[in-house]
């Protein structure tokens, strides 16, 4: 753990019970997140990419203990979040915030913008209502909204504006960490860049640390410092952004990258594409051995029987694959 590591996740697991029958007997578990470890340095952005259902959002929620982890630990600025009482956890919440995927559903429809943004201030700061209104106006300005928007209701805004409200709400208490759970997935492409640029500006301005969850590889490359690639609840590869995009080592990372179109028609027409066959397996019944073995174009027998261990191919570049050899040390 480095000295300015803000978040340290070790062997995090989140299993959702599957129940059956009138008595709700537990018959199995959906292994949404199944043993994940990573660190986030202060002021940096960790991108988390993967297909739908790979457990990205669950990591985000479990990390903030909006859901209780099944196993594993999360240290936030040296404090074990799992060991905090509900009251202490509540007091820690201002320092770690979340921007949600669906800007239409994540704002209370019966509250005005000023009360949505101002509510955490009421709860955690002792401000007069005048100071609070001034702070709300300041926050609205920071995210590019006007002060007169404060007394409107969320339904009166467009998706992009609502996401800005969500960001203003998240930064209201000067957090250290913001988990961005696919913040741009529900937005029009033309709005996506605006919101991402806004988030980058705020990061520079306020010294924020991001966990940026997305399935958009291009956007992650743009915003992230390090990138983790997830598949079926596990991290397949984790590296600095340049290393991951220029020298992907895991077959899944290569397949994901080749699925993203290149904005150059000549390259796009000629480049080699790896097409994965089949669907992502059910997380309630994951394949034995390497979870990716059922779809991996390079899988060998060993992949189906033995779980690959995490190995570092170069400093800061880890991968979980039998076919990747660690450099001779």
């Amino acid at each position: 753990m480095g000295t300015d590591t803000l978040v340290s996740v070790r062997d995090l697991k989140k299993h959702f019970p599957v129940t059956k029958g009138a008595l709700r007997r537990k018959v199995g578990a959906v292994r949404a997140v199944d043993g994940v470890s990573f660190d986030i340095e202060r002021g940096q952005t960790l991108g988390l990419v993967g297909e739908s259902g790979s457990g990205k959002s669950t990591i985000g929620r479990t990390l903030l203990r909006l859901e209780e982890p099944t196993e594993g630990t999360v240290h936030f600025d040296g404090v074990d979040l799992g060991g905090l009482s509900p009251g202490d956890l509540r007091k820690t919440r201002p320092r770690m915030q979340m921007v949600f995927q669906d800007p239409h559903a994540c704002l209370n429809p019966r509250m005005t913008v000023s009360s949505i943004i101002g509510e955490p201030l009421v709860e955690h700061e002792s401000m007069s209502s005048k100071e609070r209104n001034a702070r709300v106006e300041e926050l609205l300005g920071l995210v590019g909204l006007k002060a007169e928007h404060a007394n409107r209701y969320p339904h009166e805004f467009s998706g992009g504006q609502r996401q800005r409200i969500g960001i203003a709400r998240a930064i209201a208490l000067n957090p250290d960490l913001i988990v961005c759970d696919e913040p741009i997935a529900a937005l029009d492409v033309s709005i996506q860049a605006q919101v991402v640029n806004l988030m980058e500006e705020l990061q520079d301005l306020l010294g924020l640390t991001y966990l940026f969850i997305s399935h958009d590889l291009g956007m992650v490359r743009h915003i992230a410092d390090r990138v983790a690639v997830m598949y079926l609840g596990r991290i397949m590869e984790l590296a600095d952004v340049d290393a991951l995009y220029e020298d992907p080592r895991h077959p899944y990372t290569r397949a994901l990258q080749s699925s993203a179109p290149v904005p150059d028609p000549v390259v796009e027409a000629t480049r080699e594409k790896i097409v994965l066959e089949g669907d992502i397996p059910s997380p309630s019944n994951p394949p034995s051995g390497c979870v990716f073995s059922t779809r991996c174009p390079e899988a060998v027998d060993r992949c189906r029987s033995e779980v690959p261990v995490w190995r570092e191919v170069s400093p800061g570049h880890g991968v979980a694959c039998h076919l990747v050899d660690a450099p001779a040390s």
């Binding site: 949600f100 994540c106 704002l107």
Partner: protein, 336 residues
């Protein structure tokens, strides 16, 4: 919003005229006539004269229009006169007269209304006070013991009719335990402490039975509305703000869940004035429900017509109230 209310009130007028036609027509088609309850010794030709004098032999449309004039014009003016103690015009106008008592129907209703509103109103308020907390806790602790017990009791409360629970309450609490009187004494006047205790005692059983019945359906409704909202994203947002769980539950989830519940409550308000047909019979409360049943037995058509029309008019009005309340509670609804 004002435009909306104005438009709806304007639409309410033809609606009420149509309702009055239906009520009048149905009762006119029903068998029986005003002389049937008179002594058998009255000879047929005298009966015919009575019918003629009551205007029973006029064509249907004539009688309907005359009745509408009585209901929409004469009765409101008479009500105005009694309320403000003034005389409008000559004071001479035909009123809707009960065939049983020969007294104006409206006066009889005014006599009976306080008993009904007391019992029904209290049952209504207690029903809400029980149902909302039960619904909230059941939803918050879904599938807990509390939820299961609450579900059981609301299923029982909703499916067992009040004539059974009412009689059961009488057998247990009046006959065996002797705690409460088995009937409601309307003549009781609250003047001192003892009469207040007696009044409360006689209210306990009818109000209890009715509020359990009201609470059963309402608590299920509150529970499902809470469950819908508990899984919403904005609840997670509220939790991530680091709010106290109570504040999340009350300020965020409950306030949103109450939107449909409040409209349901608003639409049940006419029931306070319509009375409870069966429960009033069982506990011998001579309220509106009791009045309606006896009027039906005696073939008192003007009384039945007026009571039915009164409930219809209240229903139309509180439907409008429910819509307006919905618009106030949910900022997403705009009527203009």
């Amino acid at each position: 919003m004002l435009w909306f209310i104005g438009r709806r009130l304007t639409i309410a007028v033809p609606t009420l005229i149509a309702i009055s036609f239906v009520i009048f027509a149905i009762l006119d088609l029903a068998p029986g006539d005003p002389t049937s309850s008179l002594p058998l010794s009255i000879p047929p030709d005298v009966r015919e004269q009575i019918r003629e004098a009551l205007g029973f032999n006029d064509p249907f449309l004539t009688r309907w229009v005359l009745w509408m004039k009585q209901v929409f014009i004469n009765e409101p003016i008479s009500l105005f006169e009694t309320m403000f103690n003034v005389q409008v015009g000559s004071g001479e106008r035909t009123r809707v007269i009960s065939w049983q008592s020969r007294a104006p129907v409206v006066e009889t209703i005014a006599e009976r209304l306080p008993q009904t509103t007391w019992v029904m109103g209290l049952a209504f308020i207690f029903g809400i006070l029980i149902a909302v907390p039960v619904g909230v806790i059941s939803a918050y602790r879904q599938y807990s013991v509390f939820d299961q017990v609450g579900t059981f009791f609301s299923m029982v409360g909703y499916s067992v009719p009040t004539f059974f629970t009412g009689l059961l309450a009488i057998v247990i609490f009046s006959v065996h335990l002797g705690w409460f009187p088995s009937y409601y004494d309307t003549t009781l006047e609250v003047t001192d402490w003892d009469s207040l205790v007696a009044q409360i005692k006689q209210l306990v059983m009818p109000v209890g039975v009715l509020s359990m019945f009201n609470a059963a359906a309402l608590s299920r409704f509150t529970r499902s509305s809470m469950l819908d909202n508990l899984s919403e994203d904005y609840v997670r947002t509220a939790r991530s703000k680091g709010l106290k769980e109570k504040r999340v539950l009350v300020r965020h989830v409950l306030r949103n869940s109450l939107i449909p519940v409040v409209t349901l409550i608003a639409m049940q308000v006419p029931g306070i004035f319509a009375g409870a047909l069966i429960t009033e019979q069982i506990f011998r409360i001579n309220g509106i429900g009791h009045l309606l049943i006896s009027a039906i037995h005696m073939g008192d058509v003007p009384m039945v017509q007026t009571l039915s029309f009164m409930v219809a008019a209240l229903t139309v009005f509180f439907n409008l109230v429910a819509d307006v309340v919905y618009g106030i509670l949910d900022p997403r609804i705009r009527y203009d």
